[in-house]
């Protein structure tokens, strides 16, 4: 919390948090901006790591992440429709701010989930769902590109900036939505630890060991949407954290038990997100570029070491 545009000493940060003697401006920056941002970083890291771990286990695919079900693309579509589509239709800016970027992203992500859920009721094969999710993402991506192509420069720029991700746009009132959504998502994830352990042997084995496949899948999807969907809605699509962190956790703890991996991933996710936030402030670059530059070497390292 000491890093940022204005240099604030650690001592001043401590005094502002504890209500000590400090310049009121400094205190406001620390409490209203930097504390909020740090809380957001913690939530984002925990949410993405937990949902990534769940998706990798459910799909038994090391390249699965929180976004495989098309949550990001759904959110992008929502935001694109709001930022790029609304001006095209001549809708006023007033309506835009009423719905809000976060609301649009949430609606988009939820819409995609409804489609995936409807499909997965009928389709038993988990790999088919994975492929359909990816195809849906690509299809939506194409629609978003089309919108980008026909938009004017200003809307386009604000949309592109959203896709770069930001931890700083969350306001204090919005935390009231972000905190419970992430906590509920994490709680559902923790409740799925035993099913996830069984699912490591594959759906057939899991079912013969007493797992109700449909119910577990629904809860895992629900948890992922709450976690990744909410984070994307408020902070934009933040890449690589959900993909890389579970791999690091597996190597670090040398364990395959979800009872160790779930809390371990959440903790590592928090650490990684805080580190990325500090790096992004120090270098004044968008958070997404930092997570990608940090996450990609991790994934490459894991893949090579695992051979």
């Amino acid at each position: 919390m000491a890093t940022g545009d204005i240099a604030i000493s650690l001592a001043d940060v401590w005094r502002s948090l504890c209500g000590g003697e400090v310049d009121p401006v400094t205190a406001r920056i620390v409490v209203d901006l930097r504390l909020v941002k740090a809380v957001v970083a913690v939530l984002v890291g925990a949410a993405l790591a937990s949902s990534g771990l769940q998706m990798q286990t459910l799909f038994r695919n090391p390249l699965a992440g929180p976004y495989v079900l098309g949550i990001t693309s759904g959110a992008s579509l929502g935001v694109a429709l709001l930022m790029l589509g609304a001006p095209l239709l001549g809708l006023s800016a007033g309506m835009m701010s009423a719905v809000g970027v976060a609301g649009a992203a949430w609606i988009g992500a939820a819409a995609v989930l409804v489609v995936v859920a409807a499909v997965s009721v009928r389709i038993k094969d988990i790999m088919v769902i994975l492929i359909l999710g990816m195809m849906l993402s690509s299809g939506i991506g194409a629609v978003v590109q089309m919108l980008q192509y026909v938009s004017d420069n200003d809307s386009l720029k604000s949309f592109v900036i959203w896709t770069m991700g930001s931890l700083g746009d969350v306001t204090k009132p919005q935390l009231w939505l972000l905190v419970p959504a992430v906590l509920v998502g994490l709680a559902i994830g923790v409740a799925q630890i035993k099913p996830l352990n069984l699912l490591q042997l594959g759906p057939q084995y899991a079912q013969t060991m007493g797992l109700s496949m449909g119910r577990s899948r629904t809860f895992i999807f629900l948890s992922t949407t709450l976690l990744a969907g909410t984070v994307t809605a408020f902070c934009g699509p933040i890449g690589f954290v959900g993909l890389a962190v579970p791999h690091v956790a597996r190597r670090l703890y040398a364990n395959a038990d979800m009872r160790a991996l779930m809390p371990g991933s959440v903790l590592l996710g928090i650490v990684m997100m805080l580190a990325c936030d500090i790096a992004s402030k120090a270098l004044t670059v968008p958070i997404n570029t930092v997570t990608a530059l940090l996450g990609i070497p991790v994934v490459v390292w894991v893949v090579i070491r695992n051979r």
Partner: protein, 242 residues
């Protein structure tokens, strides 16, 4: 004891086995044989409750498996699939411990009794020295025995295995089948496994269930050989080349 009542299995409109009525008695090792694609795996999946039969019922210990909850089913029948399980960092002990899932709490905590059952299952298959090894560094035969131990830990009256010998060499095949026979004799379990090894089926197993689509013929091994079904199904075109 596994009982098939007027059981019909298949997929889509294609019926593989129709109106099968038979009993796999506790304490006897049953080999399920048949040509490729004849429906051995489909039948095993139906017996394990993984797929619904097209008709009829499967009773285990007198109860219809279609009417059991997933957890009740998991306490009645264990299944070893053809899938080769290799999970990085997962120790043999952890895999066998997963077999206790139908008995453990929401997070899968093992009680001292569970720990004892896991240890005993590993000992029964002769893998107690491998308990702390991870499966990605073990041979196929060793992995298969661990998966059998996992099924044992599930503590079910019935165990089904889908081609458990297919990745194994000759000594390992015999060793595994003798282990299965011992489990039947000593624990009174009802074990059915599908296989393409006719000599193993005839020499080691008590009964043979032969899929002669759409019939399922079940006879004690010696009678099955004498009845000529095996010769008709498996060796019918061998004479032509002489």
């Amino acid at each position: 004891m596994i009982r098939l009542e007027d059981l019909t299995v298949g997929y889509g409109s294609r019926m593989l086995i129709e109106h099968a009525d038979c009993e796999f008695v506790s304490g006897r090792l049953v080999a399920l044989i048949g040509r490729n694609g004849s429906g051995k795996s489909t039948l095993l999946r139906a017996l394990a409750g993984l797929s619904r039969p097209q008709g009829g019922r499967v009773l285990i210990g007198g109860r219809d498996i279609a009417k059991m909850t997933a957890a009740e089913r998991a306490r009645s029948v264990a299944f070893v699939t053809t899938e080769r399980v290799r999970i990085a960092n997962m120790r043999c002990r952890d895999i066998v411990a997963l077999g206790r899932a139908p008995y453990t709490d929401w997070i899968g905590r093992l009680s001292p009794a569970d720990e004892r059952i896991v240890g005993e299952a590993l000992r029964t298959v002769g893998m107690e020295d491998y308990a702390d090894r991870t499966m990605d560094k073990m041979s196929d035969g060793e992995c298969q025995r661990v998966m059998v131990a996992r099924a044992l830990a599930q503590d079910t009256p019935a165990i089904l295995l889908d081609e458990p010998t297919s990745f194994l060499d000759m000594p390992n095949r015999y060793q595994l089948c003798r282990l299965l026979r011992r489990l039947c004799r000593e624990r009174g379990k009802s074990i059915v496994f599908s296989t393409h090894e006719l000599d193993i089926a005839l020499n080691i197993c008590d009964d043979i269930a032969l899929v002669d689509s759409p019939r399922l013929i079940t006879l004690p091994s010696a009678e099955m050989e004498a009845a000529g079904h095996i010769r008709r199904l498996f060796f019918f075109d061998m004479g032509k080349e002489d």
